[in-house]
């Protein structure tokens, strides 16, 4: 998806501070390998947003 990387990855590169990424149910970072058939969750953290 064009532009998707910019929404998930910040300079560093690192995952954006208020996003949590899970691969096969385990917390992941940019070094995590995704194997065929595994599910990736990209979930906005409760620490983001504005009151």
């Amino acid at each position: 998806v064009p532009g998707l990387r910019n929404r998930i990855v910040d300079a560093g590169p690192v995952l954006r501070e208020h996003l949590n990424v899970f691969v096969a149910g385990q917390r992941a970072d940019l070094s995590t390998t995704v194997r065929a058939g595994e599910t990736v969750h990209i979930i906005p953290a409760v620490s983001g947003g504005a009151a």
Binding site: G3, N6, R7, D10, A11, P13, R16, A50
Partner: protein
């Protein structure tokens, strides 16, 4: 030909578009646009008619949003909007300004980006952050932000930008090199109150029909330059306070501007005496008059931020401002009388007027 008046309102929780007919009396309010992202600035690209919105999500980072159907549908991009993997991270965008076929974005930490493809991708205008003063740049209360972009109306190689709390810079070579333009502007919070840079410019613009005439509302006074920023003269006398955020100019008269003084930087930053008021000059700042007809005159603890004031280009110029309490006020007679056109919005960060010939 029917005229539609739009007011583009950027808030802490999304963009809103207010719409009225030619009378500008009754306005409708859209739902929150741009998926509720914090939006610091909205503007219109005069070449394409696209509406632009700049901001940043705490989850998803910075982006410029763009709509070519007056806000019904949106796309967004931040491709290239980075200082690189070794550079500082960019949390949000504070200004978006289209000029001469390009779109410019001012970001935090302070820097300038340009798009030559209608906002699809962005290139860092590196010359500004290569200025020798850069290591000494210090943030204002809102951060180290490039919040003002004022292109020269006729010389496409020239542009002024405003950075808090660094001051004004000008380029005359299309962004390759930049020069500080702060001579005569006070920085009361410095040991040397007239440093080369470090001034806390709040808003600045190049006047209609006179691109060398600049006005700025600063943390420490209101100023005018008659020579493209090479020197500034203070035009604060006659105002109730030197402190305020926005400054807007008449679309056809370089002598006329409107500002909204606040009661000082350490007293809550409200309208003076908690009375609603806008101040206007028609003689380049030589004298000022208080405009309060229709504005609340009791218990009005109103704050108007740097981008939250605008003028339209109608024959009788409309003047608009939005408050941190989520109100939007309008005047259709160049500031003489005011009426509230929206309330209960999130904190208003920006207001821009857009007149559409239907």
């Amino acid at each position: 030909m029917a005229t539609k008046n739009l007011l583009l309102v950027g808030t802490r929780k999304g963009a809103f578009i207010l719409e009225s007919d030619a009378d500008r009396r009754d306005w409708t309010v859209s739902e929150p646009l741009c998926e509720g992202w914090p939006i610091h600035d909205m503007s219109v690209d005069p070449r394409t008619g696209a509406i632009l919105a700049a901001g940043g999500s705490t989850w998803y980072g910075p982006a410029i949003w763009r709509s070519t159907d007056l806000g019904k549908t949106w796309s967004h991009s931040s491709e290239g909007l980075t200082y690189g993997d070794d550079g500082p991270r960019i949390p949000t965008i504070w200004n978006v300004t289209a000029s001469n076929g390009s779109i410019y974005a001012g970001v935090e930490p302070a820097g300038l980006f340009r798009s030559d493809d209608d906002g699809a991708s962005w290139t860092h205008v590196k010359g500004l952050r290569e200025h020798p003063s850069t290591p000494g740049w210090q943030p204002g209360n809102g951060g180290l932000i490039l919040h003002t972009i004022s292109p020269h109306a006729t010389d496409t190689n020239r542009m002024w930008v405003g950075i808090s709390a660094v001051g004004v810079f000008e380029t005359r070579d299309g962004g390759e090199t930049w020069t500080t333009r702060n001579k005569g502007v006070r920085a009361d919070f410095h040991p040397d109150i007239y440093p080369e840079f470090g001034q806390c410019v709040h808003k600045m613009y190049s006047a209609a029909g006179e691109p060398e005439t600049l006005y700025q509302q600063n943390h420490c006074g209101v100023y005018r330059s008659d020579n493209g920023g090479e020197s500034w003269d203070e035009i604060t006398p006659g105002l109730p306070s030197q402190f305020g955020f926005p400054a807007v100019g008449h679309p056809r008269d370089a002598d006329t501007m409107w500002i909204i003084p606040m009661n000082g930087d350490d007293r809550g930053r409200f309208m003076p005496d908690h009375e609603g008021q806008v101040w206007k000059t028609t003689d380049r700042g030589a004298s000022w008059s208080r405009k309060s007809n229709g504005l609340p005159q009791e218990d009005a603890y109103m704050t108007v931020l740097r981008e939250a004031m605008a003028v339209d280009r109608n024959d009788s110029v409309g003047v608009y401002f939005g408050t941190s309490g989520g109100e939007v006020w309008a005047s259709t007679d160049e500031g003489e009388t005011w009426h509230e056109i929206a309330a209960h919005l999130p904190t208003v960060w920006s207001v821009e007027a857009h007149v559409v010939e239907a």
